[in-house]
Symmetry: C2
Subunit: 446 residues, 2 copies
């Protein structure tokens, strides 16, 4: 590895890149140059970026290199380039939410979590493509593994950029399955933390009940470090909470007290899983032997429906005004979705909202007996289509429950990646990442 | 005072009663006997109680007296009788929610805050009358000052029992104006703390966004002590928070750093205030001189409407099932209310819910410049009718905003009490009570 990054710094994880910069083995400017070269090489094909200003990125990198020479304290991401989904406000680049309704929008301030990344020393590489308003209508991005396949959505550009080696790490968000599904389809590590771990200020809101900030990286450690850098309490957001100590990276790197035990949860949509993915998971379960047991969770069909109702109603609350203000800028699919959301029955919405805590308490018991829930990250590998971004049905339920989830790029079918999704207990993201690290080592090394 | 309570212990505040018991000047049994005698004398007229078991109350009192003799550590309410609104679960008395739909209901456990009162040493005197499901349909209670007037609602029995000298203190709850309005109408001290200070577990839920537990007493100090005894964090309730230190009673008893300055807020319903109340407030403002200034808060008409929509929709969520399960047990007024609640538009509800935090932030600025908002507790004194419980419109807005409020029995019109309502900043209940104590002393002593 230490030889390899000298010739190909774009293969470095965020943690390895930060260490190499700190040790003087590479410069931030050199790394950003390498990333820009990779972007130049792959962007026509992948289309991951919506705002990219090479000079702005290089200027940040040179500043990071200068700071390192002049000697002040540096942050854990010092000099490391990162892609930011284009629904996160940035003071130095446009933020257009993947919609012509917001064309030319230039926020004056960074989103809270972008500011935290800058404090940690990161180089904001540019803004990555999001689907229309972070919902289901596809944008221009294509799957780096095969350009006729979708990269997933809505954090399409962030996942694809990391997968294509354009940046070691990137930020996304998930309301149903917008981090985990693209991670699975693009074959990268993805992490949607517990609802409220990372502040949402300055991020486009589509559902206050569900919206969750998350990250992509090249390893579980990358996910932990990124989340550590962005975790903070936001007194103005009722879902926010004080991040726990010790930090996630420290916990993730601990040896588990015993080999983790996984609860394999098929979910009610198991019959819809594609055959090759079914086979890959069956082999995985066999290989894990006594480290995994099939567990039935009875209420998940209801949970899937509650998640759908909450998102539909809240989408229409936050975006419904566009139906009258900018209808010509909305896709037909989004218009229909907003009209459906306006018609949700208030009592269905309230039932969906108040069912969440009892449902979580019922499911949380599984995490007393198991290290994490193990379940597919998607119904199959990325569909061979650019007309849709795939189905988030295996993700929305966990998002609704506020539970942290990762997608680990450990399987494949038909030469396309499939993610293994692990889901943990709320506010115990460290244990989830520790289990994810164990599983990754076990399957990569074994 | 110390002579008087020997002949009339029912005139004691909760704090004075606790001190007298601790000092051996009176016994808990003697106090409970005196309260029972007062109940026997006034109950035919006032009708404050729905479940009263004199032997059960006396047994608790004798146990308290015995504990005092045998010497274990005692709580701050040791031996003090307290009335509990009949929507709070009690393990030893029925809890029927003021509705025949729950006739004979016997919970197996105390509500969390009732358990805390027992830990503090209180004698649970009995269950006080609530209106139907703590909403607007009147129950049997009558105003102790004049039996043809309403006591207000929904915590009718708790306010009336304290006003009639039947117990020094009682527990109630407020979703719109169910603590402050009865306090005003009955001429007692009432306190609705910040949303989430006192746990709601085991209390009938009619609106998770609004329901707030509160107390009645004979002084501001009583309110502070009672709230201190009941404040606790409830991890299962998203509105709950960790109570602050120091305790409210300690803060309430501090001398204010400077004489408080009150923001007199007329609210949009000022034209509906009855003429005698209008005159009483005008005199009060004159008397307070430079300690009060009229302040306009522009958005309050919207806030009143948002509070109404949230309550209507959530009432139907929690009680709507009764329309099919027990329609014959519902009053016509409640049926109509639930049917209206089923029809609330989900987007109106979401707007009302998401408007709350920005509205609070806009209003909270007033509390940077003023010690508290001063405003009438009701549109006038208790109406001369038992067919309705009066209008909560001067209370629901502050409940919706989650702000702590007190009603102080400092004014009257037509020989009936009118409360002065003070409203404070969220989670700063101690400062509100300190200001309330200053105002009470200033006006009573001056």
């Amino acid at each position: 590895m230490s030889d390899r990054h000298l010739t190909d710094p774009t293969s470095l994880s965020a943690i390895a890149a930060a260490a190499a910069i700190r040790a003087g083995e590479i410069t931030s400017e050199g790394l950003v140059h390498a990333c820009l070269a990779r972007i130049a090489e792959r962007e026509d094909d992948v289309r991951a970026w919506t705002h990219l200003d090479p000079e702005l990125a290089l200027a940040q990198a040179r500043q990071a290199d200068a700071a390192l020479r002049s000697g002040p304290a540096i942050g854990p991401l010092h000099g490391v380039p990162i892609g930011i989904k284009d629904i996160f406000d940035t003071a130095d680049l446009p933020t257009e939410h993947g919609s012509p309704a917001f064309a030319g929008r230039r926020p004056s301030r960074d989103a809270a979590c972008v500011a935290l990344l800058r404090e940690a020393g990161a180089v904001i590489m540019g803004k990555t493509v999001t689907t229309e308003l972070a919902l289901l209508t596809p944008a221009k991005t294509r799957n780096p593994h095969n350009a006729v396949h979708t990269p997933g959505g809505s954090s399409a550009g962030s996942a694809a950029a990391v997968a294509a080696g354009m940046v070691p790490t990137a930020v996304g968000s998930q309301t149903a399955g917008s981090i985990i599904r693209p991670a699975s389809f693009c074959g990268v590590f993805g992490f949607k933390p517990t609802l409220g771990l990372i502040p949402r200020g300055g991020v486009l809101m589509q559902s206050h009940t569900l919206d969750t900030v998350g990250v992509y990286g090249r390893s579980v450690d990358d996910l932990a470090l990124l989340a550590d850098c962005m975790a903070a309490f936001d007194a103005d957001d009722p879902v926010s909470y004080q991040p726990s100590q010790p930090a996630l990276l420290a916990t993730a790197r601990e040896a588990p007290p015993a080999a983790p035990l996984f609860a394999f949860v098929k979910t009610p949509v198991w019959p819809d899983i594609d055959p090759l993915t079914h086979a890959a998971f069956t082999r995985l379960i066999e290989r894990l032997g006594n480290r995994v047991r099939a567990v039935e969770i009875p209420s998940l069909a209801d949970v899937i429906e509650w998640a759908r109702i909450v998102q539909l109603a809240e989408n229409a609350h936050y975006y419904g005004g566009l139906l009258t203000e900018a209808p010509h800028h909305l896709s037909a699919g989004l218009k229909q979705r907003l009209e459906d959301g306006l018609k949700v029955n208030v009592q269905d919405y309230l039932r969906a909202l108040t069912a969440r805590e009892p449902a979580y308490r019922a499911i949380a018991g599984v995490l007393d007996d198991y290290s994490a829930i193990l379940t597919p990250a998607a119904l199959g590998p990325a569909p061979a289509s650019l007309e849709a971004t795939g189905n988030p049905i295996l993700n929305g339920l966990w998002t609704y429950l506020g539970m942290p989830a990762v997608s680990l790029p450990l399987l494949e079918a038909n030469r396309m990646p499939i993610g293994v999704q692990l889901v943990g207990a709320r506010r115990d993201d460290g244990r989830l990442l520790r289990s994810a690290r164990w599983l990754t080592t076990e399957l990569s090394g074994g």
